[in-house]
């Protein structure tokens, strides 16, 4: 039997697919065909490798050489140079920020990888998600086997010792949720997985599902055994077709091996799953709205209590956890609760997966121990802010989270510290902002999202957020009045106090938190009609510096509204009345003569 001498892992996570993984894969297959290497080269499509910014990514084993930003031509070259001739293609390697040299094996020396501790994402980018054997090779389904030999109480006790808390946002102790659901009497119970990942900029759940679907399936079966349920639902957004496909394939393969379905591993425990697709309403990530949606009703939150543990899907006791929470469970059982609780801080154990987005060099997916400081995430793992700009703030916890300014860069990240700072862990999205970001504009953006996604069931969220948004619009248009900040704070607090569900209760958070840390920016907008970051269009003007303008006409030619006048080799001028502040002129000016001013 021929044995593969080179294994090529190509990242088939969503990020790499959208940056062209499929055409690279085709080129790879073609090149392998061309050089008749199919017996000795094994190609594996893996889940997300994490460094989405550098995609499409490819790793060649046995050397473990990591290639980035591939095109089909690069792939062809790598096959002919690296595979065939053993010469590493230097210019496609990752840059090592530490030594300024190119790095061949980033897992050993690139801080993006070395600073991570992978538990929930342990198999991502390593295993082939479409092959259950690869998951088993990495200790897959051993936790389920172990669980079936334990008493349900013992499993829950193990979770209690581990200190695992819900990774979907609120950080509720996972063991308690399991214990409550288990203790409610009833033969018919359900295990639910919330895979309705709706936060802009968060994609860890999708990546886990795409990269390691079996870790979720295994954990859900364990949960079923622990609480006494034989049926589960995965509620997943229809926007994640690849994750759905891999989950379905995973369920099929696990059933073939008797690891899922009837009489799992010869025991008398049976467990089966159904996949329910959501139609993309943000509120359906709220657990009671999600349950309504599974039942085929309109996705609107229910009044709590009763909690889903008592009255859930079809009125039966229901356990609901998020994808990342489930993905942590198999390693806790195989490696032990003590091992898990040795990672993290006093109140928050283990790791958290964060999605880095916005103004940061290494955008992508990282898993770090709880208690890591924001500075380490931004500068060591994230690689700092691009274009030599200054870090201004980071938005955590999705559209209803808050901002953390640079004064708190050294705060260790866990559930409690984030709450004290006026934000939340949320699902773990991190959107970085540099000095060019207007915080009022950011608050407006996130509030606009919450207004769009409000289900409309209760008044504070439906009408209150709309009023707040109108006030923010007024401020960014230069029509803010004295007392607007106080009105925003008061209304925001009322909405938070009186809304029914978690969405409404947290939706004014971006406004409240930006007022808390960047009150001066709000004041500049209102009192001076000035946007300090020069973002809000009604408050800025584009001007041409007559000293620098050489009259090349480049700006006048690109202006879509003909707001720029001037003869060839004469100084040009912008008519602010006509100018739409699109910024096209600034991009084409080679002399740096155009600048933005805010009075």
């Amino acid at each position: 039997m021929p044995v593969a001498t080179n294994t090529i892992l190509i990242c088939a996570g969503g990020g790499c697919i959208s940056s062209g993984e499929e055409s690279c894969l085709q080129a790879l297959e073609k090149a392998v065909e061309k050089y008749a290497l199919h017996d000795v080269v094994k190609i594996v499509e893996t889940g997300c490798m994490g460094m989405c910014d550098a995609g499409p990514l490819m790793v060649i084993y046995p050397e473990g050489v990591y290639y980035q930003k591939l095109t089909p031509e690069d792939v062809e070259k790598i096959v002919s140079e690296h595979i065939l001739k053993g010469r590493i293609v230097e210019d496609k390697l990752l840059d090592n920020p530490v030594s300024s040299l190119k790095t061949q094996n980033p897992y050993d020396d690139h801080p993006f990888f070395t600073r991570q501790v992978k538990i929930a994402t342990r198999n991502m980018g390593i295993v082939d998600p479409m092959k259950i054997e690869e998951y088993i090779a990495h200790d897959g389904y051993f936790a389920l086997q172990k669980a079936l030999s334990m008493k349900p109480e013992e499993i829950i006790e193990e979770l209690k010792v581990s200190g695992l808390r819900g990774r979907g946002g609120a950080g509720f102790p996972t063991w308690l949720k399991w214990d409550l659901t288990r203790k409610v009497p009833g033969d018919e119970k359900y295990v639910l997985c919330n895979a309705d990942e709706g936060d802009p900029g968060a994609f860890m759940d999708r990546s886990i599902l795409e990269g390691d679907p079996h870790s979720l399936l295994e954990a859900m079966a364990i949960a079923g055994y622990a609480i006494g349920a034989n049926k589960g639902y995965i509620y997943i957004r229809a926007e994640y077709p690849l994750a759905i496909e891999r989950l379905k394939e995973g369920i099929k393969q696990a059933k073939e091996l008797g690891l899922f379905g009837e009489n799992i591993m010869g025991s008398d425990f049976s467990f089966d799953l159904e996949i329910r697709m959501g139609a993309g309403a943000f509120v359906c990530g709220e657990e009671t709205a999600l349950i309504e949606s599974i039942e085929g009703k309109r996705g609107q939150p229910r009044v709590k209590p009763p909690f889903p543990a008592q009255v859930g899907v079809w009125g039966k006791p229901t356990l609901n956890n998020n994808v990342e929470t489930y993905a942590n469970i198999p390693p806790i059982l195989t490696k032990g609760a003590k091992w898990f609780s040795s990672i993290g801080t006093e109140t928050s154990k283990g790791t958290k997966v964060f999605c880095l987005a916005g103004k940061v060099k290494n955008t992508g997916l990282v898993e770090v121990p709880m208690g890591i400081t924001l500075r380490e995430v931004v500068y060591d793992i994230g690689g700092g802010i691009p274009d030599g700009k200054e870090f201004k703030a980071v938005q955590t916890g999705g559209p209803s989270g808050g901002c953390i300014p640079k004064e708190y860069l050294d705060t260790p990240i866990d559930y409690e510290t984030l709450k004290e700072l006026g934000t939340m862990m949320g699902s773990g999205g991190m959107i970085f902002m540099d000095e060019d970001t207007c915080m009022v504009d950011v608050a407006k953006y996130f509030l606009d999202f919450s207004v769009e996604e409000s289900c409309g069931k209760c008044l504070p969220c439906r009408e209150g957020n709309r009023v707040m948004l109108e006030m923010l619009e007024k401020i960014t248009e230069g029509n803010g009045e004295e007392g607007d900040i106080e009105r925003l704070e008061k209304l925001g607090k009322n909405i938070m106090d009186t809304s029914l569900c978690g969405l409404g209760q947290s939706s004014p958070q971006p406004v409240i938190s930006t007022i808390r840390y960047f009150r001066d920016e709000y004041e500049a907008h209102i009192n001076e009609k000035r946007c300090p970051a020069k973002v809000c269009k009604p408050l800025i003007r584009y001007i041409i510096d007559p000293e620098k303008c050489v009259g090349c006409t480049a700006c006048a030619r690109v202006c879509p509204v003909s707001a720029i006048s001037g003869e060839v080799k004469q100084v040009h001028e912008i008519d602010s009345e006509i100018c739409t502040r699109c910024g096209s002129c600034i991009q084409v000016c080679r002399f740096g003569a155009i600048s933005i001013v805010s009075p």
């Binding site: 001498t5 046995p62 050397e63 065939l84 053993g86 090779a137 389904y141 086997q145 073939e256």
Partner: protein, 125 residues
Amino acid sequence: MAKIKSLDELMKIKEKAVKDIHMRDTEKKGKIVVAMGTCGIAAGAKDTLQAVVNELEKNGIDDVSVVQSGCMGLCDVEPTVEVIMEGSDPIIYGHVSPEQVTRIVDQHVKNGKVVSDLLVRKGEI
């Protein structure tokens, strides 16, 4: 496929899968490089490569990786095979036919003795 009913059966699948995956691992004790340049291939390096892979498989050696390289510049003595074992100098063998591969794996890889009659060069090129 047969259903898994016990820990042993699960373990069996794991062991087999680990073996398949192991080739990816970078933690190897050694490396065998088969020169697969045009000259090497013309001299029969494809068969040699296949023999190396088969021989390692037959002897259950999974901590030595097999790598292909281009022409080393020794076209005259192709097919060439370089054996790099941890802690000793790389050895280059020339005129390596599939039969000689058996000897190299047997003597050098398993027992650490250089097959002197095939030796082309010792040490880094």
